[in-house]
Symmetry: C2
């Protein structure tokens, strides 16, 4: 086993995971921000990613059960507030539903998640399960994809606004809220990981946890590509042209 890394070297190693494995490098992301996606592909992306968004507060509540320090829990709790909001009509999940509204999906269909790809469900559920069963250090480290999210969000927003007439700043409101939250959360999580990974083995586990989380995001885009770009739709998944109102007739 190699020697303990300095906190700075650990941070570099973690940032390298993002440089190599974060889903901004996925072909679906490139297709999306460069304007090559069809309306149906954007619908499928928003529908599937709703499941990820909806499980984030459950994932964060799971992490909350693992943190034994009051101040740590106080900090982590903000994540749940961001996604669930402080009152009805508020929060990240609500903002995501405004996006699926604008793409013509009935809310009860989206919330039922019955049309999502099985691979989306497996990946997202694996993330929650990871946070339930691994060490608190690994659970916190797996959240560090947020270190890389401000770039992908700005690329996605400017690209989508420039290339698709069916999205607007209002329908993409989820993303405009996220960068300051992600910055606050990922800085806290990075400090936590640097402080709590006290052995080389723990440092390696933190790096592996971040790789795992990159896989969770990557697998979701792989499945979207296969089903809706390559058009190899798995049985039971949402079929384009069904359920959602026609383009331009969204609520």
């Amino acid at each position: 086993m190699s020697a303990l890394m300095s906190p700075e070297d650990l941070e570099t190693a973690l940032r390298n995971v993002g440089a190599e494995r974060y889903h901004n490098r996925h072909r679906f992301h490139r297709r999306q921000y460069s304007g090559q996606c069809t309306y149906e592909e954007i619908q499928a992306w928003a529908l599937n990613r709703y499941y990820y968004q909806s499980m984030i507060p459950i994932k964060d509540a799971t992490v909350l059960t693992r943190l034994t320090d009051t101040e740590d829990r106080r900090q982590w709790r903000k994540r749940i507030e961001d996604h669930d909001g402080l009152k009805p009509g508020d929060g990240g999940i609500e903002r995501w539903l405004k996006l699926t509204d604008s793409l013509g999906f009935p809310r009860d269909y989206v919330v039922s998640t019955e049309g999502i790809l099985p691979a989306t469900r497996f990946a997202v559920d694996a993330y929650v399960e990871f946070c339930r069963t691994r060490s608190p250090l690994e659970a916190v480290a797996s959240s560090l994809t947020e270190l890389f999210s401000p770039n992908i969000i700005s690329e996605r927003m400017s690209g989508m606004l420039a290339n698709y007439d069916f999205v607007s700043k209002e329908t993409l409101a989820y993303f405009s809220q996220r960068p300051p939250q992600a910055k606050r959360d990922s800085e806290w999580a990075l400090d936590y990981v640097k402080a709590h990974a006290g052995t080389r083995a723990e440092q390696e586990l933190a790096i592996k946890a971040l790789e795992f989380k990159c896989n969770v995001l990557w697998a979701q885009l792989d499945a979207l590509w296969s089903a809706y770009v390559d058009k190899a739709l798995p049985p039971g998944a949402w079929v384009p042209g069904t359920i959602a109102a026609e383009r331009g007739k969204a609520a």
Copy 2:
């Protein structure tokens, strides 16, 4: 809610799930048995499916923890014996490793599972988790894909033996052992489901459980196609041409 189905109608409904969703309908299966797969695609299939095989006894032990009747456990235990064997060198996992041996993979690499696709791991782990958290009825019902396996196995074996000079009856020994085991197990499980699904709601849950399991199998072939046929390899997965000995130089 509709009325309770007769046991015969429930069986018909379960068999219909297989007719519509079992992975014998997947394009990767057609490609495989018709001789269109490359050597590397067969390698990737065997490497990834090892993880599924290796987790089956763990899945079955999980189900065993849910069965409260001694006779039920006695019957279910046979599944673990089939896969783990009665002595070293015996059992389904060992036979699967003979296949990966013949495809040039070092055993320790296969057993480490470090080169499998994340989507394979997510799907298989979802299956174990399903059996841990759902009702015993749903756990048993999810095994009923074995009702449909004799056909796919005979198609796969005869097609592979006819079309690939790098497989043989010896390297496919896993499959020649399976049909009588699958027949015995699926008949028992079908009787169990028919006897224990005492309400329409439970019958629907059993049908949903079988759909879920079909999704677990389907998602694995989707991921194989995406990574190794469409060649959109996710970061960290086995790269063809690495690790395994060259074709014809297997142990």
